[in-house]
């Protein structure tokens, strides 16, 4: 079975989780042998931006030592052999068209999404 993991809700509790649960799930399933790819759309396209830094969270004397590093996490998906698609228009609408992104992403237009979905047995939309 080949599945496409669509991640749309960006930065959902990522400071507390220290990653994105949808990204983490894809990584974990792949490591367990699943055939899974990822599509970033909506606000989650920001995960691909290289220059993001969520460090510095502090409550009283408590300091976060491992802030989320979402671009690195996305890169780890491609390094594991997963295809990571990203919706071009969603990047453009957010002013991210000329911003440095991590490498190895596969752009897809909104018009191309339906064709992409046809390549998968199941689609999981988070």
């Amino acid at each position: 079975m080949k599945a496409l993991n669509i991640i749309e809700t960006g930065y959902r509790a990522t400071l507390e989780e220290q990653d994105d649960p949808g990204v983490w799930l894809a990584y974990t399933l792949k490591a367990a042998g699943a055939d899974v790819d990822v599509l970033l759309r909506g606000n989650a396209v920001n995960y691909a931006v290289k220059d993001q830094d969520a460090g510095g969270l502090q409550y009283g004397a408590w300091r976060q030592t491992q802030p989320p590093r979402l671009a690195e996490n996305i890169a780890s998906l491609t390094s594991k052999g997963m295809a990571v698609f990203i919706v071009s228009e969603d990047l453009q609408e957010r002013g991210l068209g000329g911003v440095p992104l991590i490498e190895s992403l596969t752009p897809v237009t909104r018009n191309g999404i339906a064709r992409l979905l046809g390549n998968y047995d199941q689609v999981w939309h988070w």
Binding site: A13, T28, Q58, Y59
Partner: protein, 138 residues
């Protein structure tokens, strides 16, 4: 402190679900640093913020063991905020809604958290300079 204030925060969201709980605790942190007296009424899922049974875990995607990952446990944030308030001459009165605790089985809470009811929230609000409700949104 002449301008010492008393603030009440009513929270509703559980931890690890969205950024509202993170933001709420950051606002409480600011108040704690100013030495304010702070009331927190933890309602519905937010009773899990101080849940004592939270445990850290390793993260294979990050390639870190449990110590290296140093995963956020909101119970530790709550305790740290209480200590920060005390250090600056204030205090945090954190009340978990008892019925919300019971229906979730979230009975064990970190030290300093007490069980209460909406009547406590009413008293808190009435004795405060202001109240901020951070409710769940769809």
């Amino acid at each position: 402190m002449a301008d010492k204030k008393t603030l009440t925060f009513a929270l509703m969201d559980p931890p690890y679900e969205n950024a509202r709980s993170t933001t709420a605790l950051r606002l409480i942190n600011i108040a704690a640093k100013r030495g304010y007296d702070i009331n927190v009424f933890a309602y519905e899922g937010s009773v899990f913020l101080a849940f004592a049974m939270q445990k850290p875990h390793p993260n294979a995607m990050h390639g870190r063991n449990v110590e290296e990952e140093n995963h956020v446990l909101t119970k530790e944030l709550v305790s740290s905020l209480m200590q920060e308030a005390m250090r600056n001459g204030g205090k945090i009165d954190w009340v978990n809604c008892g019925l919300c605790v019971d229906e979730r089985g979230a009975v064990e809470a970190v030290e300093g958290v007490r069980r209460g009811s909406p009547a406590d929230f009413l008293k808190m609000a009435a004795s405060s300079d202001n109240t901020l409700v951070i409710g769940t949104r769809g």
